[in-house]
Structure formats: C-alpha cells, structure tokens
C-alpha cells in the first residue's frame, strides 16, 4: 500500500487554486459517458451526487433509509462555520484554518484544512442561494453565534436544526437532478460490498432492503459518503442505522483505514437512564454559549441543585479555562466531566452527569431570549427527561458522537483504491484528532459540493478504464460472498439476539476504549473482541428470511462488521502511544491532566492495511508536516 497524499506544491494559500488549474477537465460532451456511484445521501453524498449530475455525469445514488432526506446529517443541531467575518471580529480564512488545525491537536493535513477554510465561504453563498433559511438579524443580514474552540463568532445556524436545513437544501438539489434525469436514486438499498476490477473500484453490491434482492452495479468511479462508526459503542448519538459496513467492506478490499482511534465523545448529551436505553441524545453544544457547567464542590452532595448555593458549586470549566470557559473544545470538556464524575461529584441518578445551568442567562437576558435561542432544545430535553430546564439545570454527560478517523484519502479525496473516493465523516481528512463544533457540516458540504466533483473528473480523464459490466467475475464473486454471509447469519439460529451482542461489544469498548484509554485495558479488549466475534457467528439468532423486509438481518450484518472493525479500533488506540485530541491515553498526561502529545513519534496518520481476519493489520504512516502552523501544546486557559 502506497500513500501518496498528492498535496500540490506552492504556498498554502495558493495550493487549491493551483491544483484546480492543474486538474484535467472532462469535455462537457464527454461527461455523460461516465458513470459514478454515490453511496450515502447525507450532506456529502447528496451534494456530490447533485453537483456531479449538474456537471453532466450519470450518477446513481444509494441510501439505506426510505428517503435520502433522512440521512443522519439531519440531526446536527448547532451550526456551520464559515470564515465570512461578517461580525468583523477578527475572523479570516487563516484563523478558521488555524483554529481547526489546533482544535484537531495537530493531527490533520494542513493543506486539506486550509482548503476547507477557503471553501467555507462558497458553501454559505450556495446554501443561501438554494434556500436554506438561516437565522437573520432585523436588517436582513445573516446572524452568527459562537461555538467551542473559537473566540470569534463564525457559526451560521437555523435555530437548533442547522443540519436538517442544510440536508434538506442538498436533498432538494438532489431531487432536482433526479427530475432532470442525471441521478437515479435508490432508497432502501444497503451497500454490502465494493467491487474492485484490475485494482480499480468499479462497482458495488447492494441488498434491496424491501425485497432482499442482492444486486451488482458497475460504474467508472465510486464515492463513499457513508458517515462515521460511533455506533460501534452501541450507545451513541448516531441514528440507529449508522454503521461502518460500507467503509469496512472497502477496507477489506484494500482501502487503508486511517486513525480509527480518533473518536469524539461529545460533552453535552443526555445521561443514560437505564438498561432499556437504545441510543443517546445530543443537546447542541451551542447551549454552552449561555449555559454554565457545574458540579457540587463536595463529593456525594445530593441536595437538589437550587439548594446548593453558589459558594458550594464548582464551575469547573470556568475555573480550569478562564479564557474559553464553558466553550472549551469538546474533547477537553468531556474529559473534565468524566473527571468530576470519577471524583464522586456527578449529579443525577447514579451520579453520572454534570449540570448545565441557564439560571444566570435567564436572569440576564430574560426567558424569551433564551426560548428564542434554544426553545426546541429545551422542549426536547423536557420531553425525554420530564424536567423543565427553565426551572432546573439540565443534566448532561458525554457520549460518542462523531468519528474523526475514517478511510484514508489523498488531497483529491481518493482512497488507496484508485477510483474509490471518500467524502464527509467517512474519510479521515480534516479534523485530526478532534473536531471542532460546526465543522462537520462544513466539511461534508466542502467535499460534496466543491472538491469531489472536480477531482473525480481528473481521475476519470487520467485513468484508462476498460469497459466492465456486472457479468464480470469480480461482481459475481462479490455477490456470492454477500449471499453466503446472509445465509450463514440466518442459519445459525442460536440463542442470543443481535442487540445483546452489540450491547456487550459497546460496553466493552466504552470501558476500554472510550473517553480514557490505557495499554492494559486495550490489550484486554483486543483479546476479548475476537471471542465475541466468534460467539456472534456461533450463537446469533436472526429471525425471518433473506428474501424479505428483515430489519434484524440488516442489523446483524452491521454488527458483524462492527465486530471486525472494533479490533482495529483498539489496535490503533494501543499503537498510538500518546494522548492527542479525543484519544486520551492515561499514561500520557500533563500534571494538570491535559493530553500530552508525542510529536517526535506520532506526528503522522496511522493508516492500516487489511491482511485478513485474525491476522494483524499492517501499519503505514503518512508523516504530517506543519509548514504554516507551529506545533504547540493546545491551551484554552
């Protein structure tokens, strides 16, 4: 496996411009001769499919949901960053770039991040043009809010539903292209394998989730925009269907998987309430603009919050980080919350939680202003917990939320398999070891609207693509393997449900490879996961048949892949013998409990090559060089 990042030469600020000039173009009349498969219809997938169709390519788009509009981008709440500097508060493309590289704890590729910051400007322009109803000021100008990890106000938002509105914007552009005939949409289809012919990605195998029909699709290039793998933890803020299958299947076929241990645990989620819990709910980080985070000073203090006077409260984020306060980045805020709970100062049932208190903001700004800013979030909180956050502080606790790791891609967003491009959360490229708030939406749209549609043309022109159809042996073999796996799952007829096994895997990972990790725990997990995988194939019970709408069968396939992927996640976490961003190794911390990076040995992306199940993966490195930003310990004090 060879890692060529293909970063253009020249000064940072000119790389993307220069690259766009150097990219080969496809003649407009020739574009319609090329076909591209896009898997996933979230921000990255829908925007890529729509834009490539506008350019003239023949696009086929697949999603597992009943409509492309349901992709999990829809659940993003807080906002999208753009370096517009509309507030004239000192923002610039360079500052957004700098904040993102620093926020990622210096584990992202500089050139990609700079391009992202540049494109953020165009994203806003395009989203406004397509009718995204962003929040406005009375003069009609766009409103901004602040977000974690930044000292400027550069986040654009649509109430607490920014992801929904941005996704609907992309979805509408996608449906426009379906009508125009450029995109053929296949909902309720799940990709179960990638097909590689002569070393190039040439198609996929899908299962029609309604009829069970397994089908092969050929194309000149494949785009995966299939999101992240946080559901490996069972309890996460991801939608129930989010999975690693597409990315993992591509990995098995030769795509390098980069930095799987970079997982983000979001600080503001609702604490788990019991055994029945099926997922965790995120409360937007934007709440930290006005909410103050605290726990009682005394361990074991069980008084209700309003009976605890200010002098006996510890506003620990404000204490630790006076200049960023409650807006400290996600990884740091999460870790500090865990520390408070570990000290016995946690609140709520089981002491698993910290307070997020709006009392002072309501006194200062009035209830109406708070309701206007966060009304829907407060309502959601009350719905779930039965408590009214206008009267009593919210209880929050960190939960797995986003995964910075993903398939390795070069500057063109192409993986180590030629023709396989990866966009959005599914790739590893822009967020390093920790993603800042309001940057996921920005990256998904940058990749899909503005990067991929150009770079894929360059690939198509430069590559000799022999005609391939689905009668090719590679397609028939992949189809056969998919059917064989399905048959095995259905025929096991064991005693344990898929949920039981997934829950066990999730608990193991949360304990050994969650917010804090150490070598001993990781070794235990690495020993246990193969056993659990073996138990799955021996004891799983999947009801029904393969030739029907069978939700348990869908789920079983996803969990089977999580059981393979989880091992790689822990191997990477053990191998990365440093702390950085969301990857906190207890062995490596400063006296104040902050992450201690080891730039001498780990200023690289770890890219893993698949060598077979049960065989140790082979590690490759992409060395990260920082030409514009000086490596420094992150400080938010």
């Amino acid at each position: 496996m060879e890692l060529r990042a293909n970063v253009p030469d020249g000064p940072l600020a000119q790389k993307w411009d220069r690259h766009r000039f150097e990219l080969k173009l496809v003649n407009p009349a020739n574009k319609r001769k090329y076909s591209v498969i896009v898997v996933g219809s979230g921000l990255a997938g829908a925007s890529a499919a729509a834009t490539m169709s506008e350019l003239g390519y023949q696009v086929r788009c697949f999603c597992y949901q009943d409509s492309p509009r349901r992709a999990h981008s829809i659940a993003a709440q807080g906002g999208i960053n753009a370096a517009k500097n509309y507030q004239a508060d000192g923002d610039s493309v360079y500052r957004l770039f700098y904040d993102t590289v620093k926020g990622g704890d210096f584990r992202a590729r500089e050139a990609n991040v700079y391009r992202l910051a540049q494109i953020s400007l165009q994203i806003m322009d395009h989203c406004v043009a397509t009718g995204v109803p962003f929040a406005r000021e009375y003069g009609g100008y766009l409103a901004n809010r602040s977000f974690g990890g930044a000292q400027v106000s550069r986040t654009f938002y649509a109430r607490g539903q920014t992801g929904q509105q941005l996704l609907l914007g992309c979805y509408q552009q996608l449906e426009k292209e379906v009508r125009a005939g450029g995109v053929e949409m296949h909902s309720r289809h799940e990709m179960l394998d990638l097909v590689v012919v002569d070393g190039k990605a040439r198609g996929i195998i899908t299962r029609d989730l309604l009829t069970g029909r397994v089908q092969a699709w050929a194309a000149d290039a494949v785009v995966l925009a299939t999101g992240g793998y946080a559901n490996v933890f069972f309890l996460s803020t991801n939608a129930k269907g989010c999975n690693v299958t597409a990315a993992w299947r591509a990995h098995r076929k030769g795509a390098g998987f980069a930095n799987p241990c970079f997982t983000q645990i979001h600080p503001t989620c609702l604490p788990p309430a019991g055994e029945h819990q099926s997922k965790l709910t995120l409360m937007s980080e934007s709440l930290r603009n006005d909410g103050r985070v605290w726990v009682p000073i005394r361990a074991g203090d069980t008084r209700p919050p309003h009976e605890i006077p200010d002098a006996e409260r510890d506003y620990y984020l404000e204490r630790f980080y006076p200049s960023f306060g409650n807006l400290a980045p996600r990884d740091i805020s999460s870790r500090r919350a865990k520390e408070m709970v570990d000290e016995g100062r946690g609140v709520g049932p089981g002491g698993i939680g910290v307070y997020l208190d709006f009392r002072d903001a309501i006194q200062r700004l009035g209830r109406d202003t708070i309701a206007e800013r966060y009304g829907n979030l407060f309502e959601m909180y009350e719905n779930i917990t039965g408590e009214n956050p206008y009267q009593t502080p919210m209880r929050i606790y960190p939960a797995p939320h986003y995964t910075m790791g993903g398939l390795w891609v070069d500057y063109n967003l192409m993986s180590t398999i030629p023709g396989l491009h990866v966009a959005g959360e599914a790739n590893f490229s822009d967020h390093g070891a920790n993603r800042l708030g309001a940057s996921a939406l920005m990256q998904g749209l940058a990749d899909g609207y503005f990067v991929l549609p150009l770079t894929i043309g360059d690939y198509l022109v430069r590559t000799k693509l022999d005609p391939v159809d689905t009668d090719h042996a590679a397609f028939r073999d992949a189809e056969r393997e998919v059917n064989e796996r399905t048959r095995r799952m259905l025929e096991t007829k064991g005693t344990r449900t898929v949920t039981e096994i997934h829950r066990e895997l999730g608990a193991l990972l949360w304990e050994k490879c969650g917010m804090a990790r150490n070598a001993t725990g990781l070794r235990e997990a690495i020993a246990r996961i193969p056993e659990l995988r073996e138990e799955f194939w021996r004891t799983v019970r999947v009801p029904g048949t393969g030739a029907s709408f069978n939700q348990q069968l869908e789920y079983a396939g996803r969990v089977a892949d999580f059981l393979e992927f989880a091992e790689l996640l822990c191997i990477d976490a053990l191998d990365r013998d440093e702390s950085c961003g969301g990857h906190f190794r207890e062995e490596h911390q400063t006296e104040e409990g902050e992450a201690r990076r080891d730039d001498e040995h780990f200023a690289h992306a770890s890219v893993w090559e698949f060598t077979g199940i049960g065989s140790p993966p082979r590690k490759h490195r992409e060395e990260l060089t920082f030409e514009s930003v000086a490596l420094a310990q992150r400080s938010y004090k």
């Binding site: 989203c127 397509t130 949409m185 819990q277 099926s278 779930i384 449900t497």
Partner: protein, 252 residues
C-alpha cells in the same frame, strides 16, 4: 409497568393483515415508546417469532422516519412529538394500546407498521427546490431576507416528512406537506423566480400520487409533530390561483 398491545401485522403489501395481541412487560417509565417496542421484539425473537417491523432511525424526532398510529392518533397523544420522542411515563400500568400503520392509498403498507412514503420524494422532485447550480451563487449577503420572512420560512421548513398529516386527514391529503415546502421557498427572495410554477407542479404531482384534497378539517396541524400551520395551505391556494391567472409563458 405492563401493557397490552394490539399490533397490526402484515407480512407484505399483498397480505391482508390483522391485529395481534402482545404483552409488554416490565417497561421502564423512562424508556421511549420505541424502546418499549424493542423490548417486545427482543422477546419475540427469543420465542422464535418474527419481530414487529417499524421504521425509525435518529430517535431524536428529526429524521422523520418513524411514525404510526397509537389508539388512532398519529405519533400518539403528545402534541408536537414524534413517536420516538414519546416516553412511557405518559402511560399507566395496564394500559391497552392499538398500533397501526399510516392508512392512505398513497402510502402502501410495506410490512407491519412500515409504509412506503416515496410519493413525498416525487412531490419534491416536481418543484420543491430552487434551481441554482453549485458554484454560481453571489455572496451570501447579496440577498437580504427580512427576519420575519426568515422566521416564517423556517417554521415551514421544519417539516420532517413523516406523513402524520396524511394519516390524520380524513381525505388522506398531503396538502400540509406540500404547502410547507411551497411556503418555505416562497417566503424567501431566492424562491421567487420559480414560485408559481412550483405551486402548480407540486400540486399536480400531489394529486397524481393519489392524495386527497384538503377540505379544511385541520386534523393535519393537530397531528403534526413540528406544529406546521394550516395557514400555509391557504397560502398555497393563493399561489396556485394566482398562477392560474397568468398566461403559461408568465408562469416562470
């Protein structure tokens, strides 16, 4: 708490379907309605039976994938709440619940509580967008949007396309869904060039898909988990009529 559930079971679109009765036992009041169904399904699987199929994904009330009737009410008894956000503390031990899929000719039942809502996508395809090529936009501040318009557009844009409005309507009309998209785009300056064409084409597709007409019952607004107002249907009607007063060439 323990509950009795009468659940609509239908193996596929061609099956006639029937109610079957199940017990939901030891349900935590903190669990969500769907978590209660998860519990029932886990037991069904262990007992060698097929679990109840229902659509769901985000379980945060935003993706719009979940939804069925509980005792004849879409998404159950709580206002402005999808079924995934409905929690069991609103029920009492011994309650008896009837669960059915959305009932509408344009939403064929796929299995048990899951229906096919692809008709909604086709209504959007008919004009629920702004034609703007990627990369062609002027600066985001080149077009100012009065705050009130932005708020009204956003109120309409909150629609999650769950289909509760159709299920609640005695005519199985999807006018609230259609009107919400027309209002969202029609309140914005960017949406003006295609405003009247959009109204006509989306309404034509709505009718073609087999949804009924609106006769002002207002049940859709009551059922809507996002509180979309029927005022938008009045607005749709205005846009639709205005478009009829124009010559075809003036539609754009």
């Amino acid at each position: 708490m323990n509950l009795t559930l009468h659940v609509w079971r239908q193996s596929g679109p061609a099956d006639a379907g029937r109610f079957e009765t199940y017990r939901a036992e030891n349900v935590s009041e903190h669990s969500s309605f769907l978590e209660m169904l998860d519990l029932v399904n886990e037991r069904l699987i262990r007992d060698g039976q097929e679990p109840i199929a229902f659509d769901h994904d985000c379980r945060e009330g935003i993706c719009g994938m979940c939804g069925f009737m509980i005792n004849g009410v879409p998404h159950g008894p709580l206002p402005r709440t999808t079924v995934c956000q409905l929690h069991m503390r609103h029920y009492r031990d011994g309650d008896e619940l009837w669960l059915e899929p959305w009932r509408a000719a344009a939403f064929p039942v796929l299995r048990d509580l899951a229906v096919d809502r692809a008709a909604f996508d086709r209504i959007i395809q008919a004009g629920g967008y702004i034609t703007a090529r990627t990369g062609s936009a002027p600066d985001a501040h080149a077009v100012l949007v009065p705050k009130d318009n932005a708020e009204l557009a956003m109120d309409a844009a909150e629609c999650i396309a769950c289909g509760a409005c159709v299920a609640a309507c005695p005519n199985a009309s999807a006018m609230l869904f259609t009107a919400a998209k027309i209002a969202h785009l029609g309140y914005l300056p960017q949406g003006q060039p295609e405003r009247y064409r959009r109204a006509v084409e989306m309404v034509e597709m709505h009718d073609q898909e087999g949804f009924g007409h609106c006769t002002n019952h207002g049940a859709c607004q009551t059922a809507c988990p996002k509180d979309i107002s029927v005022d938008y249907i009045a607005r749709l009607n205005r846009d639709f009529r205005k478009s009829r007063l124009r010559r075809p060439g003036e539609l754009a």
